[in-house]
């Protein structure tokens, strides 16, 4: 197991190590040993010490109950499909709105100044509010206007709240990408006679979007988690379903089940985003 980064000495095979290589190999072996022993020690301490806590038996019964877990897990998985569906229709709309707002902030014609101003106010407001607050205000507020079915659905207005908040973040990320494209690219495009619009569309934006894919991936991982907040205004998605099971069975294990399901999606996605980010960083250095 490669606990620490090991860089192999260039070319020299085993048995033909120089004195320095042998010394460095010894250092590496020692580091790996120390890391392994220390990790094992911490794990052992956790496994031994936690069950010694006075409330452990009660916690084990109500949070890590295997029977309840097995009983509720399929239902939770079913409910999670709703989270995935909400995510699936929000994500493309967020991407579109985010892009539109980012472009609006970059417009330089005086006539379009109101558009630019609106974009600035929009990103400031929605990045400045807690997501749950926006969901409450829009999710309860708009249907309160007395709209007829199906226009009073919490799915519509809850989704809109998520879209508005997340598009503000995505817009800022895209804008930072646009600004990261060097001025010399715009100069080259201008010198060829390309219009500002074509320069943005064919030269700046393709480079900017590529650069901010990892950052946006992180935002979409966060979105997948925040979908659970819609449960506060009605939809029975996984978090609400876990709550229902909790009340039925007087046991908290369904929440742990829900956590497991979220992690199964978000950890691989986060790792992948980090991988892309590192690749991007290497490509640019």
């Amino acid at each position: 197991m490669a606990l620490l980064d090991r860089t192999e000495g260039g070319g020299a095979g085993v048995g033909r190590l120089t004195r320095r290589q042998a010394y460095e190999a010894q250092l590496r072996r020692r580091s790996n040993w120390i890391a392994a022993v220390s990790t094992l020690g911490v794990l052992l301490a956790l496994v031994v010490l936690i069950p010694l806590a006075p409330g452990w038996e009660a916690v084990k019964r109500s949070f890590f109950n295997g029977e309840v877990f097995a009983q509720t897990f399929p239902g939770l998985l079913q409910a999670f499909l709703l989270d995935v569906a909400i995510f699936a229709w929000c994500a493309p709309l967020i991407a579109l709105l985010g892009l539109a707002v980012a472009l609006a902030r970059d417009v330089r014609t005086p006539a379009a100044y109101p558009l630019r101003l609106a974009a600035i106010v929009y990103t400031d407001v929605f990045r400045g509010l807690p997501v749950i607050l926006v969901i409450y205000l829009i999710g309860f507020g708009v249907p309160g206007l007395g709209l007829p079915r199906p226009w009073n659905s919490p799915y519509i207005w809850g989704s809109l709240a998520l879209i508005l908040v997340y598009a503000a973040y995505v817009a800022e990320v895209i804008r930072s990408g646009i600004e990261s494209v060097h001025e010399s690219q715009r100069a080259a495009a201008a010198s060829l006679g390309l219009s500002e619009r074509d320069t943005m569309r064919y030269v700046v934006l393709p480079q900017a979007i590529r650069r901010v894919v990892p950052a946006n991936m992180n935002l979409f991982v966060a979105l997948q988690k925040d979908v659970a907040l819609l449960s506060f205004i009605g939809p029975v998605e996984i978090f609400r379903q876990a709550g229902v099971y909790k009340s039925l069975m007087a046991n908290f294990t369904p929440y742990v089940g829900a956590a497991v399901i979220f992690l199964a999606i978000t950890i691989p996605a986060t790792r992948y985003a980090d991988y892309l980010l590192n690749k991007e960083r290497r490509a640019r250095s």
Binding site: A188, A190, S191, L192, G193, L194, Y202, P206, Q207
Partner: protein
Amino acid sequence: MSLLELRGVEKAFGDTVVLRGIDLSVGRGEMVCLIGASGSGKSTLLRCMNLLEPIDDGEILLDGTDIAEPGLDPQPVRERIGMVFQSYNLFPHMDAAENVMLAPRRVKGLRREVLLPRVEALFERFGLTDRIHAYPDQLSGGQQQRVAIVRALAMEPEIMLFDEITSALDPELVGEVLDVLRDLRQQGMTMVLATHEMGFARELADKVCFLDAGAILEDGTPEEVFGAPQEARTQAFLRRVL
């Protein structure tokens, strides 16, 4: 009549005056070399010529029309003036052929099928045939710069501006780029170069201008400027670089 004529061009960035009353005329088919120390205003002068930088005062006449007239749309002017940069500035997300075809497609509305044979011919002319679908990061500096020249040529400009296009290249790659300029010179392209390649300027330029602190201190034929410089500053500069 000269193809490009500058009269009393002034330019400042904030409080820093970069160009102080530049007068310069470039005849059709002529090659003019701008020499001078870094910061003397060569690059800014070139960027003013195709309106990448707005000038503060003066006139820039292209074929007799003042292109620096306030309120004039710079786009049609830039189509007629090609420019090649020190750092190549190829578009990294497009292959060489797409780099070259973008402007003719979008600005002139030409179709890919029409352009491709023309682009292939240009790539062949400059020894790039096997690199036509390579991306910029797969090309050497010399190849990138040749693609950048092809990209500017594809717009069929009346005049080409070159901003120290060999300064970022490894020494062994300079020759292949200078060969391209020689080729263009023979074809009768009108060219203005900011350059540190004194040997090249001496060999091929019709006119050499020595810039110092934003003004053309001395100009003339290569024989005059390199052979018998009149100004003390010119003499000092040439002693340092030759």
